[in-house]
Symmetry: C2
Subunit: 385 residues, 2 copies
Amino acid sequence: MSVTRPAGFAASGVAAGLKSTGARDLALVVNRGPLQHAAAVFTSNRAKANPILWSQQVIADGRVSAVVLNSGGANCFTGAFGFQTTHAAAEAVGAALGVSPGDVLVCSTGLIGVGDQSFRDAILQNVPAAADALGAEGGHDAALAIMTTDSHPKEAVVEGEGWSIGGMAKGAGMLAPGLATMLVVITTDAVLPPAALDRALRAATRVTFDRLDSDGCMSTNDTVALMASGASGIEADEAAFSDALTALCRDLALQLQADAEGASHDIAIEVVNAESEDDAVVVGRAVSRSNLLKAAIFGNDPNWGRVLAALGTTDAAFDPYAIDVSMNGVMVCRSGEPGDDRELVDLTPRACTILIDLKAGDATATIFTNDLTHDYVHENSAYAS
Amino acid sequence: MSVTRPAGFAASGVAAGLKSTGARDLALVVNRGPLQHAAAVFTSNRAKANPILWSQQVIADGRVSAVVLNSGGANCFTGAFGFQTTHAAAEAVGAALGVSPGDVLVCSTGLIGVGDQSFRDAILQNVPAAADALGAEGGHDAALAIMTTDSHPKEAVVEGEGWSIGGMAKGAGMLAPGLATMLVVITTDAVLPPAALDRALRAATRVTFDRLDSDGCMSTNDTVALMASGASGIEADEAAFSDALTALCRDLALQLQADAEGASHDIAIEVVNAESEDDAVVVGRAVSRSNLLKAAIFGNDPNWGRVLAALGTTDAAFDPYAIDVSMNGVMVCRSGEPGDDRELVDLTPRACTILIDLKAGDATATIFTNDLTHDYVHENSAYAS
């Protein structure tokens, strides 16, 4: 179901030959209205793929009729030819659906530098088939078609009062291999204006996808798109919608974390009692990017010194010699000194929680990351070969 | 020779029982004058070990009589007891040598959180033996005693006009395992005032040790100390001394990089034509911290897309779509598009150069890093167990 759960949407996923396996690799999600309201957020990487450059223009007026997505090539750093390919893909979708190409978002994922004539041909020649395959039950096929190294499709649905939200996502957790892009398409049949959708989407992504930092590597192609059909006829309360959207985004974000192929631990870094939420995020992110800590967690080693060494590199407000650090419930560092016996920490479960008490205020944030494993190294050294 | 090459210095390295192997683990380097001028730089991590907190006070007046260094425990996050241990170590050295404890630098390396009574006892009880063992040929023993996972001691000498500079360093390249501290002691018999030593040391470390970024993890204990005995009686030209000191520091820094146990490549990231040197450093550092790129280099994969994705996360001045990237001499990305055939790149040698032309000015900087390997993960997951 996912993106086709809300009324007013159709989707499809077909095989265009971009994946050497012959699996589905081209997806369409269409908003049949009556409204075609939308919002989207994109990677903040300055190295942006051609589909990002295109889609940023499309979303400017808050109106989107369809999203076309492909795996098998990121169409990034492919020059003017690559941008023309993105444009042509939107034109092809426009022609097949009878909508304006300027209302078609384009998303691509795969290797950077891939976007040649054969890539273009595969997409353009198969857009009609994707349009023919559109159906109100097509959400699952679309979710399959955007997978790269994902072990399974990621889908989620949240029900509101008379309306619903559906979403699909791709991404292999570690944001690896191959800078695997995070692509997320979310649909709703609630009645909401574009500005409200934009507010709700930014609020939701800020505390969900933006707090997923598997390996510190930011993609060139990340996109989260939200489309509202208004087909339920129900004007949603904006606060209720925002909460529901955040819940759906958290669900998808945790699915991405849990499908980290190379990972053996899902690590939640909870920073509490920070002076500000920004400080909590800065500290959590610094800790989440410590290769030394991530390798220790892989080895089930509660090496709290690596937590303190990582947060000491930030300029957040705290006294490093006052901090408490707990791992899976055991306070291994108390007020900057060795605390309870580290032998008490059980790191064998996949879920791992590192609780950091900064004792500097009352703000909180959680960053979601993964451990650093042999499989991570293997996946990312072998991907392009 | 190393630190005992310049006239006026004696050194020793003894076994104090801090290393379970029984190897040398306590070192002394003494400046017998006539001058006792000094300068030092320390980790900028806010999580500083007790020896750093102590030594920052010692160096304030530019006068140092001796440095005592131990492996086998970082004495970091060990509270007031740990600070008292550092203080007591300086007192013990002062008593053994007849110098002021306030002129004794203390350096420690090993696991964070290690610094209990037995650690204190091992140091204090063995300082007299280290003092007894002091000799004008003791530099090598001292270099051995500060090793942790280093495969060999790092030493270097540069000859000036009538004076010389000697240095020793420890660090396992990847700044791993266990946040392995970088400790560097440099000696000279040139006649120079403390202020000139400080200027020369900051200038040298800024372009050598500060540009070594093996795994992005900053230690709590890093120290680079420079002592001048004036025993040559030669007033060195400050510019010539500064150049010689920079050459010595570069030599030691590259020895640290090359001894990265887990690493299979030494990677030089040369950023050219940046608008400013700061920009060049920011870009080089961002690229050096991309786990995806580092895993690709491990796999001999010239994955230039990962270079661009990493530099796109910075706010340095450049047009991402104008950049050239060469790997080992092959321009794989030209003006932000695929360049020469990536199959031409030979990444089998240990030395790897990634040249990034930002086309934004005429400033340059090189960051030295290593690849991300299975051995890195293994070393750092298994260290504490």
